[in-house]
């Protein structure tokens, strides 16, 4: 069925105008929790690479290091950077017992561990 009235045209036009003008902040704030603390900063190669490296932890530790409710696998978001670094090193040298983390951490360099730790420290849990 096709409807065409001047009223309808005006009504929809004004709704459209309102939506379009409100768009930029709405588009960002609707998806707020998906962005890192660097939202306000323009995309740089180094921030992107840091974020992508941290994302290699997300498969087990949840997106942005935020785990699902009741997860026995610990979350990483918000952990102090120095803590994460010491834990990763303890897994790597065997002083902290693990089922899999000793095997994973041996794949990461000290610089990569620092980068990942810094990233998660910047994320709100």
């Amino acid at each position: 069925m096709t409807l065409h009235t001047p009223f309808l045209h005006l009504l929809v036009a004004s709704v459209s105008a309102a939506l379009l003008s409100a768009a930029p902040s709405w588009a960002q704030s609707a998806y707020g929790s998906t962005t890192s603390s660097a939202t306000a900063n323009p995309l740089t190669a180094s921030s992107l690479h840091q974020r992508a490296l941290a994302a290699t932890c997300a498969n087990c530790h949840g997106p942005e290091g935020r785990v699902t409710a009741g997860s026995a696998v610990p979350g990483l978001a918000g952990l102090p950077s120095a803590y994460t670094v010491t834990q990763m090193k303890a897994f790597k040298d065997g002083s902290r017992p693990a089922t899999v983390m000793h095997q994973i951490t041996k794949g990461y360099s000290d610089a990569q561990i620092q980068s990942v730790a810094d990233y998660f420290a910047s994320i709100k849990p």
């Binding site: 768009a23 290699t56 041996k106 990461y108």
Partner: protein, 440 residues
């Protein structure tokens, strides 16, 4: 002037009605840039990034393009299914400790939380020159970048009679989780005590190396409780168990007694549906009550038909730093469909890992910043040998520019010492967390 189509007079202020009207004005291009939630009625004509396939690879890629680009890059995901059903953990449905609902996650968060447009359709063709994908319904969508994650498809012709036996519902694969998973479970439930379940495994590489052995373990776990006189026969084209071999074999011997039998070097060439038998290249026919025959696998059909599967006509070759196809510019391919790098398994965890590297590369290239020179991939693969006991295999892969491929990092990775309950807990939590990472 304007043709305003309304489904009902009150729908003028509903989003659905609004989007239908705005299509007539050509306002869709502006609106799609706002990241509005997807609507089944809305058909985009262009997106900066189109993703084919909503599995562990594609869904992750779509989501991470949005995240890495801080929602500046619009994404269309073409995936026909209503909800995501996980292959990992689906063997637990066969074993009886989980339900289909436990392994199913809806897709709608990708739209509502990340502003991805989910088009419920299939892609029937890719025109890499015109940078367009063609949908089954006839529409075309133009892309700046295309990410293809088509998974695997069964090479039916590799086993004579199998396609017909599968179509009739008699000889199933259940290697893409969904209705076939339940159908196979029903076959096991209906089987008489004292019957035989046989799984036939193709030569590697195939999707999920430890998967068939986890399945055999799950079926044995079920039989041990419900039909203890029954048998599980593993008929493997490979000479030996391809993943976690010593761990599986020790557990089968110690926990299932003589119930589980492994026979290597059994390469299936045909099935006899009437006789319920599998025929082999060099070994005698084997009859069973429930036959679960896995043929050779290849890259998913869209990769095969478009030439993205350009190695041995079977797997997709890519530039591993960015996952860009060697067959088509600005087309990135990820997941099981790839020609594997050394020691790179075809796993869900790996597809999710690929997706993030590809998403970062795509965002970098679209944003004119440098692509990561040394991306990383990790994999952890958990196998349930009962409802509670698990073994894992883990690996860490570093891109090595000098060799233009991913190599495992020396000294990293490894296996469980033995099946254990703690890892059973971690394994289920891994599933919940990776589903959140991929879809929520």
């Amino acid at each position: 002037m304007y043709n305003l189509k309304l489904s009902s007079p009150t729908s003028v202020l509903s989003r659905r009605g609004f989007l239908q009207q705005s299509t007539a004005w050509g306002g869709m291009a502006a609106l799609s840039g706002l990241g509005l939630s997807a609507c089944a009625t809305r058909m985009p004509e262009h997106a900066k990034v189109v993703v084919i396939g909503g599995g562990y690879g594609g869904a992750t890629a779509a989501k991470y393009v949005r995240m890495f680009s801080q929602n500046q890059i619009d994404v269309v995901l073409v995936e026909p299914n209503e909800a995501f059903v996980s292959c990992p953990m689906s063997n637990l449905v066969l074993g009886g400790s989980k339900t289909m609902a436990d392994i199913t996650t809806p897709y709608d968060m990708l739209s509502s939380k990340y502003g991805i447009t989910h088009v419920k359709d299939r892609v029937t063709n890719i025109d890499a020159a015109k940078k367009t994908v063609l949908l089954a319904r006839g529409n075309a969508i133009r892309y700046d970048k295309l990410i293809v994650s088509p998974g695997v498809d069964m090479m039916w012709n590799s086993i004579e009679g199998l396609a017909a036996a599968q179509a009739s519902g008699q000889i199933l694969q259940a290697w893409k989780a969904g209705p076939e998973t339940m159908a196979l479970r029903r076959q096991l439930e209906s089987m008489r005590d004292g019957g035989v379940y046989a799984i036939s495994i193709p030569l590697a590489p195939y999707r999920c190396p430890p998967g068939p052995y986890e399945r055999a373990s799950q079926v044995a776990h079920y039989f041990k409780q419900a039909k203890p006189k029954s048998k599980v026969l593993i008929l493997d084209a490979n000479p030996d168990v391809t993943s976690k071999g010593p761990l599986f074999k020790k557990f089968w011997a110690e926990n299932f007694g003589g119930m589980v039998e492994f026979r290597g070097n059994h390469r299936a060439i045909g099935v006899d549906a009437k006789a319920n038998a599998v025929r082999f290249e060099t070994e005698n026919d084997v009859k069973a009550d429930v036959l679960n025959v896995l043929p050779n696998m290849s890259a998913g059909s869209i990769a095969m038909s478009t030439g993205l599967a350009n190695t041995n006509g079977r797997w997709c070759n890519v530039n591993y730093q960015t996952f860009e196809s060697t067959a088509a510019k600005d087309v990135h391919v990820i997941g099981d469909s790839l020609l594997a790098a050394p020691l790179m398994p075809k796993s869900a965890h790996m597809a999710n890992s690929h997706a993030k590297v590809a998403a970062a590369a795509v965002v970098a290239q679209l944003s004119d910043v440098a692509v990561n020179p040394d991306p990383m991939l990790t994999n952890t693969c958990y196998s349930f040998v009962t409802d509670k006991l698990v073994v894992h295999v883990a690996s860490v892969h570093q891109y090595v520019a000098a060799e233009k491929t991913f190599k495992t990092v020396a000294g990293s990775g490894g296996l469980s010492p033995q099946p254990n309950e703690l890892e059973g807990i971690y394994a289920w939590n891994w599933a919940k967390n990776i589903w959140a990472d991929t879809l929520l």
